[in-house]
C-alpha cells in the first residue's frame, strides 16, 4: 500500500493490498487485507501470500478473537475521520484481546488524528491518498504526554505523579 506510515517512518514498497469488497479479485500469491466475511471463507483454503482482515466500525472486534493468533495484521477502517468507533476497537484488540500484530488505520486517516490513534494502539497508518504521508508524520509528535492509561502508556499520569510525590 502507498502512503504508509509504520513504526514512525514512511514506508515504501509495502506488500499488502487492501481488498475493499467481496467481489474484488486477488491472486493466490498476494498479501491481502480482506473483509471479515471473505477472510473467514479463505482462511482455510490454499493461499501463498499472507492473509489479514479489516473491520468496519460497526463490526465487533470480538468476532476476530478466535483468529487473532494467526493474523499478522488487522486493519480498522475509518469511513470518516470524525467516526471515533475505531479508537475503541483498537483498545479492545490490544488490551482485551492481547493482539500483538500490526494494527493499521485505513480510510480517512489524517495527520491531526495520528497522535490519538497511536495512543490507542495503532502502529501503522495509511494516510489518505491526497495527503502527503511525510507531512502527516509530524502528527505523531503532537503530544509528549497523556493523562489517560492507554496502550501506549498503560500507567495513567496521576499514578506516575503520585508515586513521584510519595517516593
Amino acid at each position: 500500500m502507498q502512503n504508509l506510515i509504520k513504526n514512525r517512518a514512511v514506508v515504501n514498497g509495502d506488500s499488502w493490498r487492501l481488498v475493499r469488497s467481496a467481489d474484488e479479485e486477488f491472486s493466490i500469491k498476494e498479501d491481502v487485507i480482506l473483509p471479515l466475511a471473505v477472510y473467514l471463507e479463505c482462511k482455510d483454503k490454499p493461499h501463498e501470500g499472507r492473509l489479514a482482515v479489516w473491520l468496519a466500525p460497526e463490526q465487533d472486534v470480538a468476532e476476530l478473537q478466535p483468529h487473532l493468533a494467526g493474523l499478522p495484521l488487522v486493519a480498522i477502517d475509518f469511513p470518516a475521520f470524525s467516526d471515533g468507533r475505531g479508537y475503541s476497537h483498537a483498545r479492545l484488540l490490544r488490551e482485551r484481546h492481547a493482539y500483538q500484530g500490526e494494527l493499521r488505520a485505513i480510510g480517512d486517516v489524517l495527520r491531526d488524528q495520528l497522535s490519538y490513534m497511536a495512543q490507542v494502539g495503532f502502529d501503522a497508518f495509511v494516510i489518505r491518498a491526497d495527503r502527503d504521508a511525510a507531512n502527516a508524520l509530524a502528527g505523531l509528535d503532537d503530544f509528549s504526554e497523556q493523562y489517560q492509561a492507554t496502550v501506549l502508556q498503560p500507567v495513567p499520569l496521576l499514578r506516575r505523579r503520585v508515586s513521584l510525590i510519595v517516593a
Binding site: G84, L110, P156, L158
Partner: protein
C-alpha cells in the same frame, strides 16, 4: 485551587501549538473546511453570525483573580472589551479574529487556562456546584473528583470523536445546584449506609430537542472505580450511539432505545473488564488531588458581627444580603453572588473593566478565588460578614449589585439571534423587556424564587425546559415567536416544563408573563413558591388566563 505542574503546562502548550499548525494549514488551504471544523470546535472556536466565537473553559467554574485579569486582558486586546459567561460555567468571546486565536490560547496557557473541548463531539467541561467547598449544606466536597475527571477527559484519545457532545456534572450537596439530572452523566457524591463516600451515577439526561431526566444506572459506585466506570459508559456510547442522525446521537437516545436496564447491563459487562485496571484510583491519588482543595486560611469569627447587622437596617442592603449572599460553612463568612443580570445588559455579559473589578474584590475580600455559576452569575466564595457592606457598595459601583439572584429577572439566557447562527429568535431584547416589566423591586421580591430560563432555539443552551417559566424562540415563517413553558425545575426535583399553548409575538411576551404572575399571586397559599403553585393547580388556570379573549 488546582495548580498545574510541568506536565499540565506542557500538554496545554502542545495543544496550543497543534492548533496553531491546524489554523495555519486551514488558512493556507491545506485543511478543508470539513476537516478543520471538528478541530477548531474541540478548541472552543465556532464560526458565528458576525465573527468567530471562542469559548474558554473554566473547569468546574473555579478560577482565580489572576485568571480573571487575563480574561480582561484578552477581552481588551483581542475582542471588543467584554465577554459572556455561559450556562456551562465557561466564558465566551464574541469577536476574536481567527488568525489570532492561537495567540489567545497561548496567553491563556500562561495562566493555566485553555479552550480544550469546550465544543465538539467530545467530553465537555465538567460542571459542579458553584458553592462547592464553601456551602453550608454540602455533604461532600467533590472538587478533587472534578479535577480527576477534568484530567481524564482532557485529550482522551479514545473519546475525541463521539457521536455527539458529552457533558458530565458533579454534585455533593443536599440541594443539587449542578443540574446533574439533565446531563449525559450526573454524579451525586453520596455516603452509603456504611458511611463510605461514593457516587450515584445517572446517565442519559439532557435538554435539547428531546428533554429527558437522567436515570440511575448505579446506586453506589465506590470512588476508586470512578474512571474505569466512566470509561465503560463512554465506550458503550462511543460504539453503539447513533451516528446517522445528529438529533438522535446523544446518549439519552441510546439509553432510551436500549432501556436503562439493558444499557446499565451493557456498561456493567464492559466495566467488568476495566474494573481494577490501571485507572483504578488509590486513596493516595484522591488525597493528592484533594490537597489542592483544602480550606484557605479562614479566621475564627463570630457570626453576625455588629458592623454587619447594624447595616441591615438599610433596606437596600438588607435586600441585597437576602438575595445575593449565601450561607457559608464557616461562621462569620458568606458567599456573595455578583449579579450579571442587570436590566439592559445581556444576561451573563461582563466588561473587561468589570472583570478587573471582580479580580480586585476577590483579592481584597476573599482569597483571590472566583466562581462562575451555571446561572451565569459570579461568586466570591469567602467574604467576611463584617466586610459585606463594603463589598455591596463596590458591587453597586461596578453594576453587580442588582438584588435579583433567584428572582424572575435573574434570567438564564443564551446569546440567541443577536450572536448565534443556530437561533430561531433573539433572546436578549426579550429578556430585557421582561426585566423592565418587573422592575418594581417590591413586586419582584414578593414574587419570590422563580427560575426563568430562555433559549433562542431547540438546542436549549438557556435550559428553558427546566425553568419554572421557560421561553423558547421559535421560527414561524421567518418571524420570531416565543413559546412559554411552565412547571420545569432543576435540582432535586428536576422536571421538564410543559408548553402552555400557542407561541407569542415578541411584543406580547411581557404581558403574558404579567398575567401568569398575577394569577400566581391570586392563587398562592401560605407563602408557596411559584413552582409549588404551578404544581398544585396545574397548567390549565394559567392557560385560561393567558389566552382569555379580552373583552
Amino acid at each position: 485551587m488546582y495548580k498545574y505542574d510541568e506536565v499540565d503546562f506542557r500538554l496545554v502548550r502542545e495543544r496550543v501549538e497543534q492548533f496553531r499548525s491546524q489554523t495555519q494549514r486551514y488558512l493556507a488551504g491545506e485543511l478543508s473546511e470539513e476537516e478543520f471544523r471538528p478541530l477548531r470546535l474541540m478548541n472552543g472556536l465556532y464560526i458565528q453570525r458576525h465573527a468567530p466565537m471562542l469559548r474558554v473553559a473554566i473547569p468546574y467554574g473555579h478560577f482565580s483573580s489572576l485568571q480573571m485579569r487575563k480574561l480582561a486582558h484578552i477581552a481588551r486586546t483581542y475582542d471588543r472589551g467584554y465577554g459572556h459567561f455561559t450556562t456551562r460555567q465557561n466564558i465566551q468571546f464574541n469577536w476574536p479574529e481567527l488568525a489570532r486565536v492561537p495567540d489567545i490560547l497561548a496567553e491563556l496557557a500562561d495562566v493555566e487556562m485553555h479552550a480544550i473541548q469546550t465544543s465538539g463531539n467530545c467530553v465537555r467541561n465538567t460542571t459542579t456546584d458553584a458553592f462547592a467547598g464553601v456551602a453550608a449544606d454540602e455533604l461532600i466536597d467533590g472538587r478533587a473528583y472534578c479535577e480527576i475527571i477534568r484530567q481524564w477527559s482532557t485529550l482522551h484519545p479514545e473519546f475525541a470523536y463521539l457521536p455527539r457532545k458529552f457533558k458530565i456534572a458533579v454534585s455533593g450537596s443536599t440541594d443539587d445546584r449542578a443540574a446533574t439530572q439533565v446531563h449525559d452523566i450526573g454524579l451525586h457524591v453520596v455516603r452509603n449506609d456504611a458511611g463510605e463516600v461514593g457516587f450515584r451515577v445517572l446517565v442519559g439526561g439532557g435538554l435539547g430537542r428531546t428533554p429527558i431526566v437522567g436515570k440511575v444506572v448505579r446506586e453506589f459506585l465506590p470512588p476508586q472505580h470512578l474512571l474505569t466506570y466512566l470509561d465503560a459508559v463512554l465506550r458503550v456510547y462511543n460504539r453503539y450511539g447513533r451516528r446517522d442522525n445528529k438529533y438522535k446521537a446523544r446518549i439519552k437516545i441510546l439509553v432510551q432505545a436500549m432501556t436503562v436496564e439493558a444499557f446499565a447491563a451493557k456498561v456493567e459487562d464492559e466495566w467488568l473488564h476495566l474494573k481494577d485496571g490501571p485507572s483504578t484510583l488509590s486513596d493516595a491519588d484522591v488525597a493528592y488531588y484533594a490537597s489542592f482543595f483544602t480550606d484557605p486560611a479562614y479566621e475564627t469569627l463570630a457570626a453576625n458581627p455588629a458592623g454587619f447587622t447594624d447595616k441591615l437596617a438599610e433596606p437596600a442592603f438588607a435586600r441585597w444580603v437576602e438575595r445575593n449572599t449565601r450561607a457559608h460553612k464557616r461562621a462569620g463568612y458568606r458567599s456573595v453572588v455578583l449579579s450579571l443580570k442587570k436590566t439592559g445588559v445581556p444576561p451573563g455579559d461582563i466588561t473587561a473593566d468589570q472583570m478587573d473589578a471582580v479580580a480586585d474584590m476577590a483579592d481584597r475580600f476573599g482569597f483571590g478565588e472566583i466562581r462562575s455559576a451555571h446561572e451565569q452569575n459570579l461568586i466570591l466564595p469567602d467574604v467576611k460578614e463584617s466586610e459585606l457592606y463594603t463589598v455591596w457598595q463596590l458591587a453597586r459601583e461596578h453594576g453587580f449589585a442588582t438584588p435579583n439572584i433567584g428572582l424572575l429577572t435573574d434570567i438564564i439566557c443564551c446569546p440567541g439571534g443577536d450572536f448565534c447562527d443556530l437561533a430561531n429568535a433573539r433572546s436578549i431584547p426579550v429578556a430585557e423587556a421582561i426585566q423592565r416589566k418587573f422592575d418594581d423591586l417590591d413586586y419582584l421580591f414578593d414574587l419570590g424564587d422563580i427560575d426563568c430560563n430562555f433559549s433562542g432555539c431547540m438546542n436549549a443552551c438557556g435550559h428553558h425546559h427546566i425553568g419554572n417559566i421557560g421561553i423558547l424562540g421559535v421560527d414561524k415563517n421567518g418571524q420570531e415567536w416565543y413559546q412559554i413553558t411552565l412547571g420545569g425545575s432543576q435540582g432535586n426535583y428536576t422536571a421538564i416544563g410543559k408548553v402552555i399553548g400557542p407561541s407569542f409575538a415578541q411584543a406580547d411576551v411581557p404581558a403574558a408573563f404579567e398575567k401568569i404572575m398575577t394569577l400566581y399571586v391570586e392563587q398562592r397559599q401560605d407563602g408557596e413558591h411559584f413552582i409549588e403553585t404551578v404544581r398544585r393547580i396545574g397548567l390549565d388556570p394559567f392557560k385560561e388566563r393567558v389566552y382569555a379573549k379580552s373583552h
